[in-house]
């Protein structure tokens, strides 16, 4: 679209439908939720209404949201997401690196294997994990053969983190792959040639030069982890509740849209914070862009 100024008609013809789509189904509902977060349920005849609202009544929902109960859940969501993201990075980096250095004819197949889980519904994949980790699951059966276990691996933080790493791994592998693939391999060769060991080369050259990919991957994994509700719902049981579950319950079970909207926006501000951090990083590092 370099020459859209020369072809404004083409530009508008192509650009208008998606713009309208975004406006109707994203911006307007988001604006509605934003207004909702400052609203309260209407009280009619001393009864709290189910579907009537008093709009723009104030910050009461936000004040409720900073209650230690929710802050604890928020904090827990952040560290679970952070841990899952870190694990994703540690596991995905060697995978991405391996694919980049694999013979060219293998690359499409290996990338396909990375995205293959996307072809299966998230719910089914998560249930499959239950089959793997339950008390009489595959892991415990194998451990049982060597006289270990059975271990309780489901319905705790471990299960949630494992589930998140499993589900979001491709989001980490793909941006890492894109950056490493575009990294000029002569930088690595130059580093070795100058006397650095493989490990030094990795730390001092590879990691800094692929930082944009690392940051993209971290953001792509961390943000959906933070808002996730399905994985903790199925794998976490009662005590592994995350902020996504709280929000989901406000909109469904509790039918408290104003409070749910306020929590959603708090989560969104946290996300903006993460994106701002990414922007600062890209300003500082002059590596390969994504």
């Amino acid at each position: 679209m370099d020459n859209w100024k020369q072809n404004p008609r083409v530009f508008w013809t192509l650009g208008l439908p998606p713009s309208i789509w975004l406006l109707l189904f994203f911006i307007i509902p988001l604006g509605f939720l934003f207004v909702m977060s400052f609203s309260d349920k209407a009280v009619i005849d001393g009864q709290i209404s189910i579907n009537e609202y008093d709009y723009l009544t104030g910050f009461s929902n936000y004040i409720r949201a900073v209650d230690p109960l929710y802050l604890t859940i928020m904090w827990k969501s952040i560290w679970i997401s952070a841990l899952a993201t870190a694990l994703c990075l540690v596991v995905a980096y060697p995978i991405a690196f391996g694919i980049c250095f694999a013979p060219n004819r293998w690359k499409p197949l290996l990338l396909l294997l990375v995205v293959l889980p996307f072809w299966i519904n998230l719910l089914i994949r998560t249930y499959a994990l239950i089959a793997v980790f339950r008390t009489r699951g595959y892991v415990n059966e194998v451990l049982g053969l060597v006289g270990l276990g059975p271990f309780e691996m489901l319905y705790n933080d471990f299960a949630v983190i494992f589930g998140l790493v499993y589900v979001y791994m491709p989001f980490m592998v793909l941006p890492l792959y894109a950056t490493i693939e575009r990294l000029d391999k002569s930088f690595l060769e130059a580093s070795l040639d100058l006397g650095a060991s493989q490990f030094q080369t990795f730390l001092r050259v590879t990691v800094p030069l692929t930082m944009p990919g690392i940051i993209s991957g971290v953001i792509l994994v961390f943000i959906p982890c933070l808002g996730t509700f399905l994985t903790p719902e199925l794998l976490g049981g009662a005590n592994a509740i995350m902020i996504g579950n709280v929000i989901e319950r406000q909109f469904k079970a509790a039918n408290d849209w104003p409070f749910g909207a306020a929590l959603s926006f708090l989560l969104m501000y946290a996300t903006f914070g993460a994106l701002a951090l990414r922007y600062l990083f890209t300003l500082r590092s002059k590596g390969v862009g994504v």
Partner: protein, 360 residues
Amino acid sequence: MSDAIVSIRNVTKSFGGGITAVDRVSLDIAQNEFFALLGPSGCGKTTLLRMISGLETPTSGQIIIAGEDMAFTPPNKRPTNMVFQSYAVFPHMTVEQNVAYGLKVTGVPGDEIRRRVGEALEMVKLTQLATRKPDQMSGGQRQRVALARALVKRPKVLLLDEPLSALDAKLRDDMRLELTRLQETVGITFIIVTHDQDEALSMASRIAVMDRGSVQQVASPAELYEHPRTRFVADFIGKVNLIDARVHRQIGRKIDCEVRGVGRMELLSDGLVGAQVAIAVRPEKLKIASQEPSSAIRVMGKVRHVAYFGDTSHVVIEAADGLSLSVNVQNESRHGGSGVERGQPVWVHWSPEDSIVLTE
């Protein structure tokens, strides 16, 4: 050669799919030499350089550097450093950090690093730009960083992969002189890979001409130009007229041969009776005359094309039997240029000793 710093013995490098990039190459490169590996792209010169650096390992053979077989020693354990074709200057480090990198990772103390980096930057005239990042520099400056970064390690051998190919013409000439000066100053063996014969001829003290994985000839620039051993070398280095000839008999140290379009002549060479050979003559060794000259080798022809180049003119002359000869004429007078024009019948003549008999 007893004082060889790099000794390549029977080195072969095969890649998958039956491709042999380097085929049984043996070379000795002396201490303090400015050595060039010259050849067309795909001739294996870069692969050979990368094997000396350790970035590739040979399929078979020995690579002896400073008296030790290092064919399988990793690059970070070799006394060689490389200036990459793309320069590979780390974009996330300043000029100073780039130059210091190789010292830092090998645990050289901080004050020594500072001193040596300062010296190296001075040597390549980059002291002013020490705190710049590579993306704020020109290609020529980045190359100087790459040079300083390699030289600061005080390698026994400096390897340069097509160092001038990415520079524009003016800068290339400056850098040629600069590299020669640097080599004389630091007294390190330089091995340069290039596909540009001018580059090799003007900088190197010795050149190995490579073609399809093997070394065709190793000699000084003048020797390569005046005494090429194969058709490939004669053709690759400078311009040349290659004329087919057939050897009839051997008379002492001379051969009596029938040269296409020219006739019978006797030339210095031996042991080739019945063979199909090529006579190579450089265009500047040919002379044009309007009257029949007295030279032993003369041929009548017609001027087909004249190209004027200021100092010289390139004249193409068509003779009998489809023989086409290129002649370089010095434009000595300000008037008249080459003195010949298209369509004009002329005599071309040259001395037998300017004819090189090529059997390969």
